[in-house]
């Protein structure tokens, strides 16, 4: 079970949106292969997000509670590589 969180601002700017779209694309692909993946969007200004992750540069990408990418938009290739490592 893989848990992916995309951390961004609300309302989402285009950088966060792009990250979310790329993530969803990869998740859909991996789900078809039979893996279980949840993708959720966290608001960076939310207290609980800050408590969990501290000062974050957006967009950020966390896998099972560990931040893997921060402050840049990962393309789907990078996302897929990161997730596949944990499968």
């Amino acid at each position: 079970m893989i848990q992916v969180e995309v951390i961004g601002v609300e309302p989402a700017c285009y950088r966060c949106k792009e990250t979310m779209q790329n993530t969803e694309k990869v998740a859909a692909k991996l789900r078809q292969e039979g893996h279980e993946i949840t993708v959720s969007k966290l608001d960076v200004m939310n207290k609980s997000t800050m408590e969990k992750y501290g000062v974050v540069r957006t967009p950020a990408f966390a896998l099972n509670g560990v931040i893997k990418i921060m402050g840049k938009v990962p393309d789907s290739g990078v996302i897929e590589r990161i997730i596949r490592k944990e499968l």
């Binding site: 950088r15 408590e51 992750y53 000062v55 540069r57 560990v66 893997k68 402050g71």
Partner: protein, 342 residues
Amino acid sequence: METRSKIRLIALLSVIIIVTGLMAWSILSKLNLMPTATSEHLQTLPLWQIPLYYIWDYAKHGWLCLSFAFIMSGLFQEFIPQDLMLKYMGSGDWRAYIFATLLAPVFCVCSCTMVPIFGGLVFAGSGIGPALTFLLVAPANNLLADIITVQVMGWPIALADMLAGATSAILIGYIVSKTPWGKQFEEKFGVRAQTAPDVDLVDEPFDDRLWNAFRFGGQMAKQILPSFLIGLVIVSYFQAFFPEEIVRNLMTGARGVLVAALLGGPLYTPTLIEVVLGRALMDLGMSPAATVAWLMGQPYDIPNSLSASKVVGWKIVVTYGILALISAILSGLVYGFITGGF
């Protein structure tokens, strides 16, 4: 390394070297990167041609400066370890102010980046002072804005703008942190026992990172250029038809500083446009001192204030707005007295 990566690496590096080289050459040979259109010439054109001519005139000179600025902001974003700097900024004593001021130029203009860092700094316990200093310095003194201000306004005014911006941001941050509502805000959100978050960033090969830098520069361009073009259209008509006497009368001397400081804020446009509009006003007769005050009017613009007030509350926003206005006026006056540029 694969051949494909190698080719990409060489191509990207050559673009960087060529653009940087051209930029250095244009600075050394003192090329003018600003539009050279005069009001008299613009007035002879048909109405619909004015913006086209002005934009073409700007693009002819400005493309190099803009490409350089976008590429550099991408490289900074990708290769400077910003997380380390955030740690320094969060140290919570007077050093945090210095770091916030010195490091802000490295972070790029984008509300998506600014507000979260601001919120994170306050929450992580750096105090509202340094966080506010950061929020004030970053839009005015970031790499992109600095390169363009220097190119468009020249060194003396650009340097004065950076220095004045940094000084007043530190003072404003400090003063606000001493007000009752500043303290109240800190108590509500401030220092919390924080467990170190799990961060394990993935390594990417060098050519991928270089490509990321270009992508970031491109995204910045995509975000900024449309409003910049609209701004240039407005500025072109402004330069063509705004009566010179009004600018000469209103925007010179001590009164000019006051007027420029008052207009520079509410009339907020993205930095790029503010700079070009300032240049157009200067060509129409605004004094250098008033120009400094004009450029300082960024922190208290209305859109910026609205997004900040969602985080910190209107009392803090009003306090810093008033303080920023005062500091814009003072900077203009000081610049005028030192250089005689009223």
